[in-house]
Amino acid sequence: MLPMTDIAIVGYAQSPPTFGVQETETQMLFPAVNEALARANLTRADIGFMCSASCDYLSGAPFAFVQTLEVTGAWPPISESHVEMDGAWALYEAWVRLHHGDIDTAMVFASGITSRCDWREVSALQLDPYYLMPLWVDDISLAALQANALIESRKATERNFAEIAARIRGGDADEFLKEPYVVEPLRAHDTPTMSDGGAAIVLAVGDRARELCERPAWIAGIDHRSEAHYPGVRDLTISDAARIAGQQSGVGKGPIEVAELAAQFSHEELVLREALGLTDGTVVSPSGGALAANPVIATGLVRIGEAANQIIDGGRKRTLGHASAGPCLQQNLVCVLEGE
């Protein structure tokens, strides 16, 4: 365990999710980064550490992330790092970096443009090259296996999925159920709306955070865990990784008012609710979650940012942001946030 340092989110912004962005990834990120800094009353030069998240497989170019670094105004040279993962893991790295104690601010940003690749193909290629990749099984097909496992174990029905989709997207579950399958038992409304987008979060330590933000969203706990590598050895109806990450980040220490879940598929919300022990008293994904807009790589960071805004702007006391990566909720990160 790290020694506890009080670290809070003091600024967050995301670029409006769209599909088919015309600008460069760097241009797309600029407004989000500017706004997150403005909300924290900071400039780029004030930031002690920057951590970015991007994925070369989305843009189809090696070192694509180098160009997005231009949003940092990296002159004179800055201290920075990068993860080829969802931005939530970049936030985790920044959180660890702040524990070093020599800096008091950090900025995290993430971007993904899914409209320039075939995400289903790219997601298939993310899998291990020996057993899964040759099957050419994509993210929707793997998600359908998990949804099927829930149905076969009688934990859920297609109607349950449709009701979640109707709550998030607006609409009528009965109408949704008349739609054809994309991959049985998933229909279009159960699969994520792929998006282009970016997000930025500013972190600050202790009194610096109180100075910069009227109501900082304190990181009360953050943890990430991974399931076994091969989906075939897992019980897909549960998520041990999410459960342990939830326990380690202290989800159960008090009521959670709002949970922003990176449930890309409607049935994933059911798995995550159970794993995190969420009750009906928790409002789940009022932003629409990952189902309504899925700018891959930024999706999880957006969840943490939205959960933070529930405290910063919304006056809530205790929320959580969740991020996931890999097939069938393979990796899970949970960040519990508290207001003072």
Partner: protein, 182 residues
């Protein structure tokens, strides 16, 4: 794989060909730059904060983090200084069109503060190419200027400039380009 590996009867090999298609989107800023190139004009954006001129334009100043647009457009010259160069020996792989050695240089265009990479130098023996050498653009005829090669990743000058040749001017002093050597 080695011959021994191939003949090992206990190991089976399979090839897994992977193909991914991507859409390359040319941003509005780069599209405008490409259009101007086809008109025979090399343009950049001048940062309203620090005054640096970026060619091709980025739509922002990466040092000041200021957004720029066509209001900040300036034209630069089609003459330049070689800041660094490479004599490339092409390796013959499938799809390689080059057969003979050629020179690619990083150029600082007159009027620009950002250098531009991957520019072909012709009209001079390769062992005479040098840092500080002055060059001029050799433009393609207007009907040869296609959209090919435009806007890709923010480098290159599209098909409008075929290559660069020595201009015959005396070499630039090192102080003029030493901050732009890659």
């Amino acid at each position: 794989m080695s011959e021994e590996t191939k003949t090992d009867e206990h190991v089976a090999f399979m090839s897994q060909m992977v193909n991914l298609d991507y859409k390359i989107v040319t941003s509005p800023v780069h599209r405008h730059f490409d259009e101007q190139m086809r008109e025979g004009r090399i343009v950049g954006h001048k940062c309203p904060s620090c005054g640096l001129v970026y060619v091709p334009p980025k739509g922002f100043c990466p040092r000041c983090s200021v957004i720029t647009n066509e209001d900040h457009e300036v034209e630069v010259k089609d003459t330049a200084t070689v800041t660094s160069f490479t004599v490339v020996t092409p390796i013959q792989y499938q799809g390689q069109k080059e057969r003979d050695e050629y020179v690619l240089a990083n150029l600082l265009l007159d009027g620009a503060d950002s250098s531009i990479g991957q520019q072909r130098i012709e009209g001079i023996p390769h062992d005479e190419v040098r840092m500080g050498m002055r060059v001029k653009a050799i433009w393609a005829t207007p009907d040869e200027r296609t959209e090919e090669g435009g806007g890709m990743r923010g480098w290159g000058l599209t098909s409008a400039v075929k290559h660069w040749e020595p201009s015959g001017e005396p070499d630039a002093p090192r102080e003029q380009y030493q901050e732009h050597v890659l």
